[in-house]
Amino acid sequence: MAHGAGGKSSRRLVEGLFAPLLYPDSAGPLTDAAQLSIEGTRIAVTTDSFVVKPLQFPGGSIGELAVNGTVNDLAVSGARAEVMTVTYILEAGLATEVLEAEVRAMASAAQRAGVQIVSGDTKVVEHGKADGMYITTTGIGSLIHGMKIDPGLIRPGDKVLVSGPIGDHGVTILLARGELDLEAELTSDTRSVLPLVEVLAEASGPGIRWMRDPTRGGVATSLNELARDCGLGIVIDEDAIPMHDAVRGACELLGLDPLHIANEGQFLAVIAPEYSDAAVNALNLLPGGEDARIIGTVCEHPAAAVLVMTSYGGSRIIDMLVGDPLPRIC
């Protein structure tokens, strides 16, 4: 189970089993989307699957996650989603109204995100086997001009940026399960980040070194992947991380670390220092980008690790997720 959570075990599964067998010729680090050339035209392709319980929650539903998640995977790879395909695995006995609601939600999310759903498939499995519904998608996009994301160019001094408050999605899901006696005014942050990424490209395209959407495993996991891939240290200022009070409160109450909680409408970026101010300013001007912040810096030490600085110079190393604090999150 821990293998699907996005953290250490997932990575071992992908690197140890999938990668050597399925993509033996792939040289570089694993990324969210693959870029390829077909008859001279460069496109990006991504695939993703969505497993959420409950299917509907404040701020969205599995269908919206599926569309936005696919669009976002492409966006952080520097691509604009053009089309996507969808596969549904449905649990026998799922109410038709539920299915219809999800299909509508997907159609509407697709329209908002500017992507077309062009193909699909459906399978039904026995009752008890699919938590209602699982969705998988494939997204295809064109490359956004002006961005040349190249993690190989990351240097000490580069800035780490987050697009907005963290932890909303994961905590919303947790509370939506109704197993805890907690209430809060929180909604999932699921949305397409493409508009933000496009603005970022315009304001600071040549300076963007790396981007990722911190879904399963949260910000800590994505930054650890970055640190390991580039061998440098990522030093984060705890006080600079934007977070809604309710997320902070729920995490304190439940003993969770917000940095390990899934987000569905945010992205992280590493930007060369000469472009970072322009990047944040441009994002802050956009509706939905007001809370974008620089939260850290790439440093030489601690090599291949992520360090979180507290207000008084104390610090702690934060690892990828070990195990699975919140299953069936996204």
């Binding site: 207000s311 008084y312 104390g314 702690r316 190393i317």
Partner: protein
Amino acid sequence: MKFVDEFRERELVTRTAEEIRRLADPARHYRFMEVCGGHTHAIYRFGLKDLLPENIELIHGPGCPVCVLPMGRIDDGLAIAQQDGVIFAAFGDMMRVPGTTGSPLEHKARGMDVRIVYSPSDALKLARGNPDKHVMFFAIGFETTAPSTALTLMRARAQDVRNFSVFCNHVTIIPAIRAILDSPDMRLDAFIGPGHVSTVIGCRPYEWIVKEERKPIVISGFEPLDMLQSIVMLLRQLQSGEAKVENQYRRVVPWEGNRAALKAMAEVFQLRPYFEWRGLGFISQSALRMRDAFAKWDAEQRFEVPGVRVTDPKAAQCGEVLKGVLKPHQCKLFGHECTPEHPIGALMVSSEGSCAAYYNYEHRKTATATMLSQAV
């Protein structure tokens, strides 16, 4: 966050740290033990060690209720839950603690019904909501938590909930402190006292420490300013040759403790003649079991419990780390065979375990530093 943020105020933290440097006698090496695992965790989380002068050493005490449980007790709890129709309910801290045949989480992956609860009353609620199952609550904790378990049991009895029982592993803090002081390996100057246990037992139970052992103790809160202020108070006592019980956590800890909580505990629990603590051996009158009036809710009386004594793997030095004789990284297995992903002992997985705290906060920094110094 009110009552939290103020006690983390950066400026004041710096000033208090300066006061500590001013007070600490450079000719002395101070050894202060923080008893409670929550304090150990706070020290690492807030990087407090970086703020203290070199000659103040913080020794981690055995105040982690999960860590001090011998593996055999975990096995016992799991054995009860193996039976058909039993739900194993416990706090999140328990889920990764290794038993001989795996942790509760691993057992869950193999089909056991394991649920995380945030309160003993959640477990009772679970029982009421699952009348065809039996809910066994694996109760752990010092005197901070025992009253809540007690109150829950009183309610279970009042409501005559038949499908609920508690596997009681509550332990008491004073015998543990006594065992530490009796241990020939320890040389301590003073204690940072457990703040939350004291909300229940008050400050009187510590008086023997200052009277018999002549060592100062300051009952401390858990925010950075609380702990730093407590260290200031300890240094002042040592400077003036005093030894007394002081309450730094006054905003929360009543000197006389919580009478209602103590009453609930007395009604439901009695002291076991002796109980085995990992690392400290058998200690008399150090743990709680349920009174006969509550036998129907006592998992040990309702179910067959193997009760096998399981010693830690030979190479593991959990006991010495628990006593504070060894620092976590000095255990031979630390960071190699024993990591949070595959723990050998509970100290590596419990939120209050010093090994887990050290691993998450210190170890990787040290490892990186070592790596870097070797590369040069």
